[in-house]
């Protein structure tokens, strides 16, 4: 692995997020918009004994962890698009004729997307803080939230790669990626209480573990609470499986 190559890729990938309007919109503007809209809509509705934490708080406060997790999932869209666009443009083949290894290429994508995830979470935290909806989370909780989202980003990249593999074109990828996004957002985001029966499905969704752990941290649950660590452990397992599956599938079937 050569640093010069990885740096070069990370540099252009981050540039793409700024220069390609869809990517910028999806990764940064959309999450900010969600926070602002829901913050103003539900920021003053006070609910008691809400959700499974059984706590009191503003409705918006219960939703923020879900928004963070959902925003992380959005990263799958530019990932799926960039891999399928690079393939369409013949860039993957061209890169393949240089001494670049597949590992260098993938690692660079992981680095740049994790970087974006960190920026995303930081922006949401700042906004939420300014809106006064961060009353219970501790400093350790905030740090752990970043760790959770960094790990979750791996599964997001995995979803993006699997989408790019099965899509014939970038256009198709932009639509197909919603197969992964929508069910998770609707069922596993913790934005609103759902009947416990949905757990049969949500237990297979990495978003569930991310948003569950974030919710616990947001409501200042003690770090000794095993549920957080279970969530984290399962999330690590999911993320590793998904990113490895994504890389292998893409390498085998998705490059040409």
């Amino acid at each position: 692995m050569k640093r010069q190559r990885i740096f070069a890729f990370v540099k252009i990938q981050l540039k793409s997020l700024i220069k390609v309007p869809t990517a910028l919109f999806i990764i940064l503007i959309l999450p900010v918009a969600l926070i602002l809209i829901f913050g103003f809509a539900f920021g003053s509705i006070y609910v008691e004994d809400y959700g499974w934490t059984g706590q009191d708080g503003y409705l918006f406060e219960f939703m923020v962890p879900g928004f963070i997790a959902i925003s992380g999932l959005f990263i799958a869209i530019p990932v799926a698009l960039s891999f399928s666009e690079d393939r369409e443009q013949g860039l993957l083949k061209r890169i393949n004729t240089t001494p670049t290894t597949a590992a260098e290429f993938m690692v660079s994508h992981i680095i740049s997307n994790i970087f974006m995830a960190i920026i995303q979470v930081a922006i949401i935290f700042v906004l939420t803080f300014l809106m006064g909806a961060m009353r219970y989370i501790t400093l350790t909780g905030i740090l752990l939230s970043f760790v959770i989202m960094i790990i979750f980003t791996l599964s997001t990249i995995g979803f993006g790669l699997i989408t790019a593999t099965v899509s014939k074109s970038a256009k198709a990828a932009g639509g197909l990626v919603w197969i992964f996004l929508l069910p998770q957002q609707l069922l596993a985001s913790n934005l609103y209480p759902l009947p416990p029966e949905t757990q049969i499905v949500t237990m297979f969704m990495p978003l569930y573990y991310a948003s569950d752990a974030l919710s616990l941290l947001f409501f200042g649950v003690d770090l000794g609470n095993l549920r957080i660590w279970w969530d984290l452990l399962i999330l690590v397992a999911f993320s590793l499986v998904l990113i490895i599956a994504g890389i292998l599938l893409f390498k085998k079937y998705g490059r040409a």
Binding site: K2, Q4, R5, F7, A8, F9, K11, I12, K15, S16, K19, V20, Q89, G90, L91, K93, R94, I95, N96, T97, T98, P99, T100
Partner: protein, 272 residues
């Protein structure tokens, strides 16, 4: 005109592998694309043999679908051959691909650059992928951009380039590592006559840098103007091989088009 300040000819020789003495050699090369059904099988390359000497500018001339790109893609490691052997820079493509990748530069038929990046960013990226030093990248980049008249547009995103400019950028990207062996797959497609001539001059000037260049084309004039030797291929088979002038003389033709016509009964640019 010597466009490379530091001619690396000697280094090249050191880096060439021991498995074959030629810059490029293919023996009885066959590529069959397989589909799900037998009728979908395409014999794109059908038993081609030729070798390219070091420092030679070698052309693969043939009509659409002749198997030029397929041959190139086998040589640069993008496709596995079905049968036969292929050597690049003294290495077997089946055994030592990583070594080959350090020696080659590839200009693909499809202009493949990042559309949202400008020319400089694209060139720099590929320089970095070949681990070229930053100063060297900048120095070469300036030179190439100047020579091809792209300097003014160098900070504009590639998606705003005209077709011809995009092809020129495609060419520069292939050259940034100062490769010992250069593959140019239809480098001048989509260029107007003036830009094409400038690009021919540019490619011609590469001869002084002791590069080996293998170029595919279906432009007769391009093959005649540039190539030391041409291999004419048709339906995956090699139908003639030699210096353009000799081929023309041998067949009593006036140009390579007529040579092709005399051998195959068809025209290379049929219907165009």
């Amino acid at each position: 005109m010597n466009i490379m300040s530091e001619s690396k000819t000697e280094d090249f020789k050191l880096k060439f592998g021991p498995e074959n003495p030629n810059a490029i050699e293919v023996r009885d090369l066959v590529k069959i694309y397989t589909g799900r059904k037998v009728i979908e099988e395409v014999r794109a390359v059908d038993g081609i043999s030729f070798s390219v000497n070091k420092g030679e500018l070698f052309g693969l001339l043939g009509p659409n679908g002749a198997g030029k790109t397929t041959t190139i893609n086998i040589l640069v490691g993008l496709l596995d051959q079905t049968e036969g052997e292929a050597f690049v820079g003294g290495y077997d493509v089946k055994k030592n691909l990583p070594k080959i990748k350090e020696l080659i530069g590839v200009c693909p038929q499809q202009a493949s650059v990042y559309q949202y990046l400008n020319a400089k960013e694209n060139i720099e990226l590929f320089g970095n992928l070949h681990l070229v030093k930053k100063e060297v990248i900048n120095e070469r980049m300036e030179k190439f951009l100047n020579l091809l008249g792209l300097s003014k547009a160098a900070n504009r995103a590639a998606k705003k380039y005209s077709g011809g400019m995009l092809r020129q950028l495609n060419l520069i990207v292939a050259l940034i590592s100062d490769p010992a062996i250069l593959f140019l797959d239809e480098p001048t497609v989509g260029m107007d006559a003036r830009v094409r001539r400038a690009t021919w001059d540019f490619i011609n000037s590469l001869k002084n840098t002791n590069k080996t260049v293998i170029l595919t084309t279906h432009y007769i004039e391009e093959a005649e103007v540039l190539c030391d030797r041409v291999a004419i291929i048709d339906f995956g088979k090699l139908v003639a091989l030699g210096p353009p002038k000799e081929l023309i003389a041998k067949h009593g033709a006036k140009d390579l088009e007529e040579v092709f016509l005399k051998i195959t009964g068809r025209r290379i640019m049929e219907g165009l």
